[in-house]
């Protein structure tokens, strides 16, 4: 079963009001949706998740699950399941004991409880580990036990707090894939917190980008990447981040992969001179560091040349580069938010 989750005008203050961990956030999560809360550490994403879970009470505003206000209700009646960053497995219980634990408050016969726990364990492929203690498990196995424990009660909402951050890089990629397929199979509304944009891009149906307690942008991964709502989102998402060049009180932004040697830019484009300082080779791409002039003020930027672009680029020399006009994004210098496009001297190629 999947339900909607909504937060309305949510504010959470800590330290007697000096810190606003969540600053007037409005967010509606659809049925069965996989929503990723993305932001740097301390941006309030985990606090928001914990407020939805009922582990924190909001200072003001409302949390709605399946359309009804759940403010003040304890976690257990909200029918949410949470996977913690540390997994928070009970170290003194076996894997089976951990998985069956959430079923105990429900009035179920013992064998029904056990068969449900076994079903959850089988679904995650850990049925051969049921007699082990958590400390005898690897990181990936622990994560699955935590998921099985979350799953067993058939919750309305899954809340995942950076569940992959304790895994090594290699395992993380496969665990990410597994998580996504698992959620698609059970179809439960999921809120996933991470500071890793690759996870967010890969997992989220939609991404909510947060900074300093505020919701900066909510949208599909492509939208967030291509049309960032402000300079924070523009520079937080993307690696390397979006280049920003100031011109007449406006910031002109473009992604590193859109700054290419002139010959590779088609359509209406802005011609620039790119003085190259340094080149890095990263998994087939060339990351070219240098100073760009001709868009606005001379600014240090990064260009990312895909492996298909083989033009010679020499450090210490200036090269003719270009950016397609439709790839340019404009932001206010003061506000940082999206601004009206300004006229650029364009060349039709």
């Amino acid at each position: 079963m999947s339900v909607t989750v909504e937060v309305a005008n949510l504010i959470k203050q800590f330290d007697g009001g000096h810190v606003r961990a969540i600053d007037d956030v409005n967010l509606a999560i659809e049925e069965g949706e996989y929503l990723v809360l993305l932001g740097p550490s301390g941006c309030g994403k985990t606090t928001l998740l914990r407020t939805i879970a009922g582990l924190e009470q909001p200072t003001s505003g409302e949390v709605l699950i399946a359309g009804s206000v759940v403010n003040g209700l304890p976690p257990r009646v909200r029918k949410v399941a949470m996977v913690f960053q540390s997994y928070a497995l009970y170290p003194h219980k076996t894997v089976f004991g951990n998985i069956v634990f959430p079923l105990k408050p429900e009035k179920l016969a013992k064998d029904e409880r056990e068969s449900k726990a076994r079903w959850a364990a089988e679904l995650l492929g850990i049925d051969q580990l049921l007699d082990r203690k958590p400390r005898q498990l690897s990181g990936g196995e622990r994560q699955r036990v935590a998921l099985a424990r979350a799953l067993v009660r058939a919750p309305h909402v899954f809340l995942l707090d950076e569940p992959l951050s304790n895994l090594d890089a290699k395992l993380r990629a496969s665990a990410r894939d597994e998580l996504k397929r698992f959620q698609q199979r059970v179809g439960t509304t999921t809120v996933y917190v991470t500071h890793d944009q690759a996870e967010a891009m890969g997992l989220g149906d939609r991404i909510a980008v947060m900074d300093k307690g505020k919701l900066r942008q909510l949208g599909h991964p492509v939208e967030i990447y291509d049309d960032p709502a402000d300079t924070f989102v523009a520079t937080f998402i993307g690696s390397p981040p979006m280049n920003l060049v100031e011109r007449d009180g406006t910031l002109v932004g473009f992604r590193p992969e859109h700054l290419l040697p002139s010959a590779h830019v088609t359509g209406e484009s802005v011609e620039v001179s790119f003085h190259v300082d340094r080149i890095e080779y990263l998994s087939g791409d060339r990351h070219v560091y240098g100073t760009v002039s001709g868009i606005g003020e001379d600014t240090r930027v990064i260009a990312r040349l895909p492996a298909t672009v083989t033009d010679a680029v020499t450090p210490g020399e200036s090269h003719p580069f270009g950016v397609s006009v439709d790839k340019l994004r404009f932001f206010g210098v003061e506000s940082g938010t999206r601004a009206e496009p300004i006229r650029m001297e364009a060349k039709h190629g």
Partner: protein, 311 residues
């Protein structure tokens, strides 16, 4: 560059001096161990072996010459019904006090770990009984439980719960209860602090996970908190047991073993026989009976502590 060159020799000699001192592990190990070894030999080992030696002798306060008498002291001690009563009392006091100490200590530990204003002052006040010297607090209790001037009696009388004084220390059952109460009052803070450490060492995540998993207060207590802190609860219980088992100050000051030996324990009876009565041989025999239980308790504590590390 010139500076670096001139600096180099100074640095080298300084580093060399430090290393010479810190490097001599064998020497340092001895220096650090000596106080402990001296303490154990002088205050534990020598008295212990002396007690064993005295137990087989006819040494008295009046005649300290050592004559071997075999098991004569044991025979006489065993023939004395007061010894058996002391032994029984010791176990009764220890077991009941230990249970109460663990229960109240656990409750207190949970109160002290809860989040409320003025927590530090409450923590400070709660620890006072433990920091007060036993003799002083026992004298205070002697007054609180006094047969004529007891303020407790006065309050109960004024409220109308009793007509006559209770004679807390004058009736066998009440005297035993009073001794147990004072032991519990004295040792609960220690147990609470030990168990507090246990509660604080549980990661917040685990408690929150159990809330998400739908566990209420009692289930969380019995299925999460207590199992996770069990080793420390065991340590608190064993400390409570050892301190009650070996204590003579509370009994000696409150009742001196009375009325009619109803609160007599091994420690107080050993003192009465061996020091007050002058029969050092018998006093030593009685005191030796503390040894097996203390040994068992020490083994159990070490096991519990090892279990803490395996979680």
């Amino acid at each position: 560059m010139a500076e670096m060159v001139s600096d180099a020799p100074t640095r080298q000699t300084l580093a060399g001096a430090r290393q010479r001192l810190a490097d001599r592990d064998g020497f340092l190990a001895w220096i650090f161990l000596v106080p402990t070894v001296v303490y154990i030999v002088v205050l534990v080992a020598i008295p212990f072996f002396l007690a064993i030696a005295f137990a087989f002798s006819d040494v008295t306060a009046g005649n300290p010459s050592y004559d071997w008498v075999g098991f004569e002291n044991f025979r006489r001690v065993f023939a004395d019904p007061v010894f058996w009563q002391s032994l029984r009392n010791t176990f009764v006091f220890t077991v009941i006090s230990m249970l109460l100490i663990v229960v109240f200590g656990k409750v207190l530990a949970m109160v002290l770990t809860a989040d409320f204003k003025g927590k530090w002052i409450v923590r400070f006040l709660v620890l006072l009984p433990w920091t007060t010297p036993v003799a002083l607090s026992s004298i205070t209790w002697l007054w609180l439980l006094h047969s004529i001037y007891s303020p407790i009696d006065w309050v109960l009388r004024t409220v109308g719960l009793i007509d006559d004084n209770s004679y807390f220390l004058g009736r066998p059952a009440l005297a035993m209860g009073s001794v147990i109460a004072v032991h519990v009052w004295r040792l609960v803070p220690l147990a609470a602090v030990i168990m507090m450490v246990g509660i604080l060492s549980i990661p917040d995540d685990l408690i929150e996970a159990s809330r998400i998993d739908g566990a209420g207060f009692w289930r969380r207590l019995f299925e999460v908190t207590i199992p996770l802190t069990f080793p420390l609860i065991a340590v608190a219980a064993l400390f409570g047991a050892i301190f009650t088992f070996t204590d003579m100050a509370v009994v000696y000051i409150l009742t001196a073993g009375g009325p009619t030996n109803s609160t007599q324990v091994l420690a107080s009876w050993s003192f009465t026989r061996g020091i007050a009565g002058g029969d050092i041989g018998q006093g030593a025999v009685i005191a030796l009976f503390l040894f097996p239980l203390l040994l068992a308790a020490a083994v159990l504590i070490l096991r519990a502590v090892r279990k803490v590390e395996t979680f």
